[in-house]
C-alpha cells in the first residue's frame, strides 16, 4: 500500500466531493448508494472517506480534462489493471481477500472489475448469476456442467463460490477448504469417516476417482467403473486366479462375472468409500 495509491492521489489534484461527481454521474451515484460501498455511516465504506474519489482518485484534474485524472474501472480505455486493483485492495486485503496476492487470478493479472461491477448489478455477488461471470473465461467448465453427471451448477443450486474462493485460498485450486477432501465433505459429510476400514485413495483424494464439474460417467466418475477400479486392483487369489483381473472380468462371457461390470459394476457389492462394519475389511459391509 501507499506509493501507488499515493501516485493516483497525487495525479488527480484536489478532492472535489461526491456532490460534484453526482452532477454529471447521477445514475452511478444513485446505484451506489443502494450498495454497501455507498454507506457513509459505515466507517469502512468509501463513502465514509472521500466518496467516489476514494476509489476513483481526486477529481480536480478530471474536471479540467475529462479524459484524465481518474482511475477508470471500465469502458473503452480503462486504467491499467495494477492501478485499478490497488484502489480496491487498499481496503480489501482481509477476509476472503487475504490470499489474493500471488493467487492464480492475481498472477494472471485479472482486474477486480473483470468480475465485479460497482455501478450496475454485480452478477458475481448473486449465487444465481455468478456462474455466468465465471463462464466468461471458463466456458470449458460450463460445457462440463451439461454432461451426464454434474453437480447442480447449471440449475443454480450449486454456485462456483460454494467450493471456490476466486480471490485465492489456503487450499488447492482456490478451494475454500484446506484440502480437496475437506471441500467435498462440506456437502458429503457422510463420507468423512474415519472408517474402521478405510479405502486409502478415498481418504487421500476424492479426485482420484471423481471429476468435479461434470462427467459422461455416472456419479462424476472419471472412467467406466470397472476400468477405474482396475487402475489399482489386480488380485491373485490363492488358486492363481483372482478377482477382477481376468480378461472376462472386463468383458465377460461367464455370466456370473457380469456383475463386475454391469449396473454399478464394482459397487454392486463393494462400499467403495469405506466401511464401519467389523466384517467390512473387503468393503462388502
Amino acid at each position: 500500500k501507499g506509493e501507488s495509491v499515493q501516485a493516483v492521489i497525487d495525479g488527480g489534484g484536489a478532492y472535489m466531493g461526491t456532490a460534484v461527481c453526482k452532477n454529471c454521474h447521477p445514475t452511478q451515484h444513485a446505484q451506489l448508494i443502494m450498495e454497501s460501498h455507498g454507506q457513509a455511516s459505515d466507517s469502512r465504506s468509501p463513502f465514509a472517506a472521500n466518496g467516489c474519489e476514494t476509489c476513483h482518485g481526486p477529481g480536480q484534474t478530471h474536471i479540467t480534462d475529462v479524459t484524465g485524472g481518474l482511475v477508470a474501472f471500465a469502458g473503452e480505455d480503462p486504467s491499467p489493471v495494477e492501478t485499478r486493483n490497488i484502489m480496491c485492495t487498499q481496503c480489501h486485503q482481509g477476509g476472503s481477500m487475504i490470499q489474493w496476492h500471488a493467487s492464480l487470478h492475481e498472477t494472471e493479472e485479472m482486474a477486480c472489475t473483470s468480475c465485479h461491477s460497482m455501478h450496475r448489478t454485480d452478477l458475481a455477488m448473486d449465487r444465481s448469476t455468478e456462474a455466468e461471470v465465471c463462464y466468461a473465461c471458463h466456458n470449458d467448465v460450463r460445457a462440463e456442467t451439461y454432461q451426464r453427471s454434474s453437480h447442480a451448477i447449471r440449475e443454480g443450486n450449486v454456485a462456483c463460490s460454494d467450493c471456490h474462493n476466486s480471490h485465492g485460498s489456503n487450499g488447492p485450486a482456490m478451494l475454500k477448504q484446506l484440502s480437496l477432501n475437506d471441500n467435498c465433505y462440506e456437502c458429503h459429510a457422510e463420507k468423512r469417516g474415519p472408517y474402521l476400514w478405510e479405502h486409502y485413495p478415498v481418504t487421500e483424494d476424492c479426485s482420484l476417482c471423481h471429476r468435479t464439474h461434470g462427467s459422461m460417467h455416472k456419479a462424476l466418475l472419471k472412467q467406466q467403473g470397472t476400468q477405474l477400479c482396475q487402475q489399482c486392483h489386480a488380485q491373485i487369489g490363492p488358486d492363481g486366479t483372482g478377482h477382477i483381473r481376468t480378461y472376462y472380468d472386463a468383458w465377460d462371457k461367464d455370466k456370473k462375472r457380469g456383475r463386475s461390470f454391469l449396473g454399478r459394476n464394482c459397487a454392486n457389492c463393494h462400499k467403495v468409500h469405506g466401511s464401519n462394519h467389523p466384517s467390512g475389511a473387503n468393503l462388502l459391509r
Partner: protein
C-alpha cells in the same frame, strides 16, 4: 446550478431495485431426469416465483431479499438485514432435490426401510411377478442463520449455523447369501438394494477478524456434525442359495452398515502482513479433530461354526465402537514480493499432517454374513486388522515472473511435493514429486495477447511393496512412478473493445513408467474457443466450442495354470466430448422489448477397446513357456450421451413498473449406457441370459424430450 438541482432531484428518486416475478409454467411431459435438480419432474403446470429486493435507509440500515424458484422443489430464499458497519444478520433456506431414477424395481415391499422385507409367498424363480417399482430420489433442505458484528472499527465477529437434512431413497450394493460347501465359502449372491437416506448435518462457523491497513488476522472455528438416523440396512437374500437348489430354497439374512455418525472440529488462524509496500507475508496454522464413534454391528447376523466365538454377539468384538480419532495439522507460509517493478516472486511452504490415532485391532472377517472368509488359504488372512492411515505432506512452491517490457513477460516455477504414509498396509510409503513449469506471455498489440506454457514433472516412490495376493507387476496408479508433461496455449484477440475471440488448448500426458499392470498411461486433450460480440450497448452475443478427450491404457493378467494358459489383456479407453453453445441478448428493443436466446449442444462418447493375449504355461511349474500372442479383440458398446438445450425468452415492458415475460425451454437428452440399459433385474442383455447370482434394479438410463413454457408478470417497485 439549476440544472444541477434538477439532476439532484432525479438522483434522490431511488432507482427501482425491488422486483417480484410471478407466473405459471407448463411442463409437457413427465421427466425424472429433466427435473433431477430443478424439480420439474411432473407433467403439468408449476408456479414461477422469483423475488429480489433491497433497501438502505441512508444511515446504514438495510435489508436484502433474494428468492429463486419459489414454486419448485429447488427453491432458495435468503434475507439479510442489519446496520452496515455495526451488525448484520441473515436467514437462508435452500432446497435441492435429486431425482435420480424412477424406472428401478425391487422385490422388497418396503423400500426406504432399514429392514427390507420380501412379500409373502415370494419365489425367486418367479422374481418378475414380485417386482415393485421404487424411485431413487433424495432431497436436501438447508436452513442457515448467522450474523456479523463490528465489535471495534477493525474487529469483526461472525457466527453462522446451518442445518441440512438429506432424506429419501438411494441404492446400495451388497454381497449376500454366501454359497457354502463343507462350511467353506464358494460364491456369493448379490443385489442392488434400496438404501434409506436420513441424514442431518449441523455446521457451525465462528470467526474473529482484524482488518488493519498492514495486518489482517482471522481466527476461526468450523464445526461439522453429521448424524445418520439409520445405522444399518437388513434384508433377506432375494436370490436362492445356488448350492442348495431344493424345493425349499435357503434365503439367508444379511445386514450392512450405513454411513456412521461423525464430527469435525477445526480451529485455524490466518495472518496477512504487509512487510513493505512490495512484500507480503501470509501464514496459516490449523488443527482439526475428526471423530467417529458409531456403535459397531456384530461380525455377522448368523454364527459360523468355523469361529470359536458367537459371531452374532457384540461381546465377540474387540471394542464396541471405533472410537476413531484423527488429528489434522496444517500450516502454510507464503511470501510474495515485487523486489523490482518488473519482477514478482513468491515462495510457499505447506505442511499437512493426518495423525490417525484410531486403535488398530483384529476383527474376524465373516464374508457376507455367512462364513469366515479366507480361513482356508495359506497364509490365512483372517482375522483382519485395521491399519488406520496417517500421513505427512509437505510442499514447496516457488514462482517468479519477470516482465521484460510491455510486450513480453516470462514466468516459471518449481514445485516439490513429499508425502510419507505411516501405516504398513500401503504399497508405497513415501512419494516425492518434482515439477517445473514455465509460461511465456506475449502482448504484441494492445488487442492481442497469447500465452504458451509447459510443465514437466516426475513422481517417484520408495520401494513398492506388493500386498498379499496382488499381482507383482501391479503399480497402484495413485502411488505409481509417474512422468507428467503438460503443454498449452491461449490466445486472446480483441479487435475492438466490443469484440473478442479466445482460444485455449492444452495437452497433458501421464506416463506410469514402472506400471506393467494397472493404469499404464493416460492423456488429456482439450480445446476451447470463445467468441463475444457486444454489437451495441443493448445487444450482446456469445458463442463457444469446447472439446475434451481422455485416453488411457489399462492392463491386467491372469494365470490359469490348470488350463495351461497365461492370459493378458489391455484396454484402450477413449472418452471424448464436444460442446457448442451460442446465445444473444437484446435489451430495450423499441424501448419495450428485451429478448434472449441460449443454446448448448453437448455430445460425448466413451469407448473401451479390449485386446486379449495368451501365452502357454507349464501346468506343473506355472512358468510361461512361449510368447504372448493376441487372441481376441472386443469392443464394448459405446457409451453415448447427448444434450440439446435451447432457452428463449422475451420480456415486454408494459409500464415502468410492470413487464410480462414469456419463456420457452426445449431440452432433449439421450444416453446409451450398456452397463445399465436393459439390465432387467437378473437379466443380462449382453449374453441374452441371466446372471443367476445377482439382482439388479432393472432400471434404464433416462432419455427425455422436454418442452417447458412460462408466462410471468414482473413487477418492479
Amino acid at each position: 446550478e439549476a440544472e444541477s438541482e434538477e439532476q439532484l432531484v432525479v438522483v434522490e428518486a431511488e432507482p427501482a431495485v425491488n422486483e417480484f416475478e410471478m407466473g405459471i409454467g407448463y411442463i409437457d411431459d413427465d421427466a425424472y431426469r429433466f427435473g433431477r435438480y430443478n424439480g420439474m419432474v411432473d407433467q403439468g403446470p408449476y408456479v414461477i416465483g422469483n423475488i429480489k429486493g433491497k433497501e438502505y435507509d441512508g444511515d446504514g440500515g438495510f435489508w436484502r431479499l433474494r428468492g429463486t424458484n419459489l414454486g419448485l422443489d429447488s427453491r432458495y430464499l435468503r434475507l439479510d438485514a442489519g446496520v452496515q458497519g455495526s451488525q448484520q444478520f441473515f436467514i437462508e433456506y435452500d432446497q435441492i432435490p435429486d431425482y435420480e431414477n424412477d424406472t428401478g424395481s425391487t422385490p422388497f415391499t418396503n423400500p426406504g426401510s432399514t429392514d427390507l422385507a420380501l412379500p409373502a409367498g415370494y419365489d425367486a424363480d418367479n422374481i418378475d411377478s414380485f417386482l415393485l417399482p421404487f424411485d431413487q430420489k433424495t432431497e436436501r433442505e438447508r436452513l442457515g442463520l448467522g450474523g456479523k458484528f463490528q465489535i471495534k472499527s477493525r474487529w469483526q465477529l461472525s457466527a453462522n449455523w446451518s442445518q441440512e437434512t438429506k432424506e429419501g431413497t438411494d441404492w446400495i450394493g451388497a454381497a449376500m447369501g454366501p454359497s457354502i460347501l463343507d462350511n467353506i465359502f464358494k460364491w456369493t449372491n448379490g443385489a442392488l438394494l434400496p438404501e434409506p437416506i436420513d441424514y442431518e448435518t449441523n455446521k457451525i462457523d465462528a470467526s474473529l477478524t482484524y482488518h488493519g491497513e498492514e495486518t489482517q488476522l482471522e481466527f476461526a472455528y468450523h464445526g461439522s456434525l453429521f448424524d445418520n438416523n439409520d445405522t444399518s440396512l437388513s434384508w433377506t437374500d432375494p436370490l436362492d442359495d445356488p448350492s442348495n437348489k431344493t424345493d425349499d430354497p435357503i434365503h439367508r439374512p444379511g445386514r450392512i452398515s450405513l454411513e456412521p455418525d461423525n464430527q469435525m472440529h477445526q480451529l485455524s488462524a490466518v495472518l496477512g502482513q504487509m512487510l513493505s509496500s512490495t512484500s507480503r507475508l501470509t501464514a496459516l496454522a490449523s488443527v482439526s479433530l475428526l471423530t467417529q464413534d458409531q456403535d459397531f454391528l456384530p461380525h455377522s447376523v448368523t454364527d459360523s461354526d468355523l469361529t470359536p466365538q458367537d459371531d452374532t454377539s457384540l461381546d465377540a468384538l474387540p471394542q464396541r465402537s471405533l472410537d476413531g480419532e484423527v488429528w489434522l495439522y496444517r500450516g502454510q507460509l507464503k511470501l510474495t514480493s515485487n523486489p523490482m517493478r518488473n519482477l514478482r516472486l513468491s515462495a510457499q511452504y505447506s505442511y499437512d499432517e493426518r495423525d490417525n490415532q484410531t486403535a488398530s485391532n483384529s476383527y474376524t472377517y465373516i464374508l457376507a454374513d455367512g462364513v469366515p472368509g479366507e480361513f482356508d488359504i495359506d497364509p490365512p488372512i483372517n482375522p483382519r486388522s485395521n491399519d488406520p492411515l496417517s500421513y505427512r505432506k509437505q510442499k514447496v512452491d516457488l514462482t517468479a515472473k519477470y516482465r521484460f517490457n510491455s510486450i513480453v513477460s516470462l514466468g516459471g516455477g518449481y514445485e516439490y511435493n513429499h508425502q510419507h504414509r505411516d501405516n504398513d498396509d500401503v504399497q508405497v510409503k513415501t512419494t516425492q514429486e518434482h515439477t517445473v513449469s514455465a509460461k511465456l506471455k506475449v502482448k504484441p498489440l494492445s488487442q492481442l495477447n497469447f500465452d504458451i506454457y509447459g510443465e514437466t514433472g516426475r513422481r517417484n516412490g520408495n520401494d513398492y511393496i506388493t500386498r498379499n495376493y496382488e499381482h507383482p507387476d501391479l503399480r497402484v496408479s495413485y502411488l505409481a512412478d509417474l512422468d507428467r508433461h503438460k503443454v498449452g496455449a491461449t490466445i486472446n484477440f480483441i479487435p475492438f473493445h466490443r469484440l473478442s475471440f479466445g482460444l485455449k488448448t492444452e495437452y497433458l500426458m501421464d506416463d506410469y513408467t514402472e506400471s506393467e499392470i494397472g493404469l499404464r498411461e493416460s492423456d488429456q486433450t482439450s480445446a476451447l474457443l470463445n467468441f463475444n460480440y457486444q454489437i451495441t450497448d443493448k445487444i450482446n452475443t456469445h458463442a463457444f466450442y469446447n472439446y475434451e478427450e481422455f485416453t488411457s491404457n489399462n492392463a491386467n493378467e491372469n494365470k490359469e495354470i490348470e488350463k495351461g494358459t497365461y492370459d493378458r489383456w489391455e484396454a484402450d479407453l477413449k472418452d471424448s466430448s464436444n460442446s457448442v453453445g451460442l446465445g444473444f441478448s437484446i435489451e430495450e428493443l423499441a424501448n419495450k422489448w428485451d429478448a434472449g436466446l441460449d443454446w448448448v449442444y453437448t455430445q460425448s462418447k466413451g469407448q473401451i477397446h479390449m485386446t486379449g493375449y495368451q501365452a502357454p504355461v507349464d501346468k506343473i511349474t506355472g512358468v510361461i513357456i512361449g510368447d504372448f500372442e493376441p487372441i481376441e479383440t472386443q469392443q464394448f458398446s459405446d457409451l453415448e450421451t447427448s444434450l440439446n438445450s435451447l432457452q428463449l425468452w422475451t420480456q415486454y415492458q408494459y409500464s415502468d413498473a410492470v413487464a410480462y415475460k414469456l419463456s420457452y425451454w426445449y431440452e432433449r437428452y439421450s444416453v446409451d449406457d450398456w452397463a445399465v440399459d436393459g439390465t432387467i433385474n437378473n437379466y443380462n442383455p449382453l449374453e441374452n441370459d441371466t446372471i443367476s447370482q445377482f439382482l439388479f434394479l432393472g432400471e434404464d438410463t433416462l432419455d427425455y424430450d422436454q418442452h417447458v413454457v412460462g408466462l410471468a408478470v414482473k413487477v418492479t417497485f
